[in-house]
Amino acid sequence: MRRYLRYLIIFLIIIICFLLQTTFFQTFALAGVSPNLLIIIVVSIAYMGGKNQGIIIGLICGLLYDFIYSDVIGLYSLIYMFIGYINGFLNKIYYSDDFTMPIFIIGISDFIYGISVYIFEFLLRGKLNILFYIRRIILPETVYTLLISVILYKILHSINSKIETKEGEV
């Protein structure tokens, strides 16, 4: 039963981050872009918890985005799910004290996320100027996301270890 407590807490974090991303960080956008908090959550949970959790959290984030902002249901769910799944493999090299590795993979994941959004939403409509999109949207978003992830990953990590000690008590 305790396992469901974990998902409840993570779900609450997702909602809070989603709300912040769509309101607060839109007002405080740097260089015209806002950070991608959802990808930080998906990657950190997948890195700390493994493939299964990565898939579930990726799905929840993707569906939330799909239902609220996307015209097509399923695209963002797929992208987030695969990011969660692939990062789940890195759970094997997870060290509790390592804070550089997760931030590194969050950066790479956000970059891949940006590229895949470009491919599905812009390249397929015949917009070929990929360098512009990388320079204007993808790279600034990655950098901003990295900055935020330094703080957010530590918060998520401490929450995760608290839940784990609670689970261990049973």
Binding site: I73, G74, Y85
Partner: protein
């Protein structure tokens, strides 16, 4: 550690099955977009009030910060404005005389002042698209306030966009600078039509594309472009912006140029929704 790790299915098969489901879902939602709207509305109805709450706190903080910064500027501005006011008062009198003349001339021409007569509802912008790729935003009025899909949204004196989705207490607006937006425009002077397309690559310049201008049309930089009569969704005669940098296309058949929107999209706070649909008019 977890005891329930003996799932009957391996993870990679779960991923495979889910991917197939979602790919099917993508096609379903492209083909039959109406089937998904109840779920979308349900999620939106829950999330929107929360966004509204956070946004009002954020706005309060940024407003009060701005207030502190602005006091000095305001004193100077006040002086300038007072000087301006006197000249404008004089101009206003001349304009009033002109308006009287215009009204009588309009009466002769049997034209209506359509633009001012549209019924409007004011709404506040509460959130923007979570990603950085689109210019879609949410406003705090929905079907409860009589809004529906395809209603035009304006701000100040120019076109902002069109409503693409309506929930009970929120609506989604796609702005004309969005990369997937297309509007049929018309030059106020010559009544010739053109296509106005949003383009993400031009967003930093604050401009959007204008295409398919007839090569014989005489246009000058700074000409006003309004929504045209032939558009199926946009009401006619709403100011979109001002054209500039017109050039001949490589095909030598059409011209294209750039348009500076009349609305400042960076500081969009309150918008007006015209609660009249184009279909209902004609």
């Amino acid at each position: 550690m977890k005891k329930k790790s003996k799932l009957s299915l391996e993870t990679k098969y779960v991923v495979l099955i889910l991917s197939i489901i979602f790919i099917i879902l993508i096609f379903v939602s492209v083909k039959y977009s109406a089937t998904m709207s109840p779920i979308k509305t349900a999620v939106g109805t829950v999330i929107t009030p929360m966004q509204k709450g956070i946004n009002s706190i954020g706005r309060y903080v940024s407003d009060s910060l701005e207030q502190l910064q602005n006091i000095n500027n305001l004193i100077e501005e006040n002086k300038e404005l007072k000087e301006k006011l006197s000249t404008i008062e004089y101009e206003n009198k001349i304009l009033q005389q002109d308006k009287y003349e215009l009204d009588t001339l309009r009466g002769l021409y049997e034209l209506d002042q359509k633009y001012a007569d549209y019924p409007k509802v004011a709404a506040t912008v509460i959130s923007k698209d979570a990603g950085n790729w689109y210019n879609v935003f949410t406003i705090d009025k929905g079907s409860n306030d009589g809004l529906s899909v395809d209603m035009n949204v304006i701000a100040g004196n120019g076109l902002v966009g069109i409503i693409t989705e309506v929930g009970h207490n929120y609506s989604k607006v796609r702005s004309i600078i969005d990369d997937s937006s297309e509007v049929t425009g018309m030059f106020l002077k010559s009544s010739e039509t053109c296509f106005i397309k949003g383009n993400l690559e031009l967003i930093d310049d604050g401009r959007i594309n204008v295409e398919m201008i007839n090569k014989d049309v005489k246009v000058n930089d700074g000409d006003e472009v309004v929504t045209s009569y032939i558009s199926s969704k946009f009401l006619p005669g709403i100011l979109i912006g001002y054209i500039n940098d017109i050039s001949m296309d490589s095909s030598n058949m059409t011209k294209s140029g750039y348009l500076t929107p009349a609305v400042d999209f960076k500081s969009l706070d309150i918008v007006l929704v015209i609660t009249e649909l184009k279909e209902a008019l004609y």
